[in-house]
């Protein structure tokens, strides 16, 4: 059951009251037993949540954690990708974005290549695209990527935002721990590689 004092209690606990309000609350707390009881109940609820921490866990997991990390670091050298493939992966991200737009329009026969992707992004109405993304993907990183792109200069934006900005791409990539930097031109074979990669991962 909602209590009338909840808001002021929670503001007090969140340190949202100014000094005057805080003093008033504390003096009211001393003389108002209803407020005091409610304050103690809310505080106890939060304290109970804090106690929801396991007392015992598998010590073997923590003992093996560092060796697992070392093993992963040792094997990643075999997965290092070239600067040009980084751009291919950036382009792949653009492909995924276009795929979202294409699928939204029901065109399953769309031919994905650098020219067609760029062309579609350029011709897409920016207001519609923003609205679409805000509605459908409000909580995903793509929104943040798209919102930073100048929609009237999409061909440049693909390179500058999706491919060259390795920091943002860093968080997307399955190779995120590989330390991405350095970009060069994408070849047809690398384009194929990224398509295959996306298909293998069931993204496309």
């Amino acid at each position: 059951m909602k209590n009338n004092y909840d808001d002021i209690i929670l503001k007090y606990l969140s340190d949202l009251l100014d000094e005057n309000e805080r003093n008033n609350f504390e003096s009211e707390l001393e003389k108002n037993s209803v407020l005091k009881n409610r304050f103690e109940a809310v505080s106890k609820n939060l304290e109970d949540i804090k106690q929801l921490t396991p007392k015992d866990s598998d010590s073997g997991y923590f003992a093996n954690l560092l060796p697992k990390v070392r093993e992963r670091m040792d094997t990643r050298s075999g997965k290092m990708i070239s600067g040009s493939v980084q751009k291919a992966l950036g382009f792949g991200l653009a492909v995924v974005l276009v795929m979202i737009i294409v699928l939204q329009n029901g065109d399953e026969s769309y031919d994905f290549n650098l020219e067609s992707v760029t062309s579609l992004l350029e011709s897409t109405n920016s207001a519609e695209l923003n609205e679409f993304i805000e509605i459908r993907y409000s909580d995903i990183e793509l929104y943040y990527l798209i919102s930073e792109i100048d929609l009237e200069n999409y061909s440049n934006a693909i390179n500058e935002q999706l491919a060259i900005n390795s920091d943002e791409f860093y968080d997307y990539s399955e190779y995120s721990y590989l330390g991405l930097d350095g970009i060069s031109d994408i070849s047809e074979s690398e384009e194929s590689e990224i398509y295959s990669s996306l298909i293998d991962k069931k993204i496309l």
Partner: protein
């Protein structure tokens, strides 16, 4: 033997691998439990914990010694968690995650006894109701007992914004409790 964080970092950057092991062993449980609370299951927490330790190994050279290592590690960890949640939302939206993986996520855990499992399930149920940014500040304040100023250094957000997020987190939690 050196045990001060800054000395250990310098020693590691000079090539002493054992110094990194000491740092990793010192913080691995804190990293794990923070990611575990943020992500709500062991498999995701394990993945992000390993990633954070790898980032530590790779990027400690960029540590500027003007904040504590603890703050730096929590910055990396919270950023990784938030990004992981976004990626996970994308996977869920496109139904990329298989039923088998979902099943494993709900069954595999490092907590073995019944009482602790119950506790974690109850906690996950509460935290799952909070948006990621409210969950972040609630965990850092309630479990790590950090001040808003410390959380601000970790998250890069303003103290005012953090207070507001914390208030809304408390409001949701209190409402959930009232409904029970």
């Amino acid at each position: 033997m050196v045990n001060n964080d800054n000395e250990l970092i310098k020693s590691f950057l000079n090539g002493n691998q054992e110094a990194f092991n000491i740092l990793a062993n010192k913080y691995k449980q804190k990293i794990y439990w923070h990611t575990r609370r943020m992500l709500g299951n062991h498999l995701d927490a394990d993945e992000v914990t390993q990633e954070v330790l790898i980032v530590m190994y790779d990027k400690l050279a960029t540590f500027k010694f003007d904040s504590s290592l603890f703050t730096w590690i929590y910055s990396v960890t919270t950023r990784r968690c938030l990004n992981y949640i976004k990626k996970r939302n994308v996977k869920r939206f496109f139904s990329i995650e298989s039923a088998e993986i979902s099943e494993r996520k709900s069954s595999e855990d490092i907590v073995k006894n019944y009482e602790d499992k119950e506790k974690l399930m109850k906690l996950d149920k509460i935290l799952d109701k909070l948006p990621a940014k409210q969950r972040e500040v609630f965990i850092l304040r309630n479990f790590e007992e950090l001040s808003y100023e410390e959380i601000s250094k970790i998250t890069g957000k303003s103290v005012g914004g953090l207070k507001s997020n914390y208030f809304h987190a408390l409001k949701k939690i209190t409402e959930m409790n009232n409904e029970e």
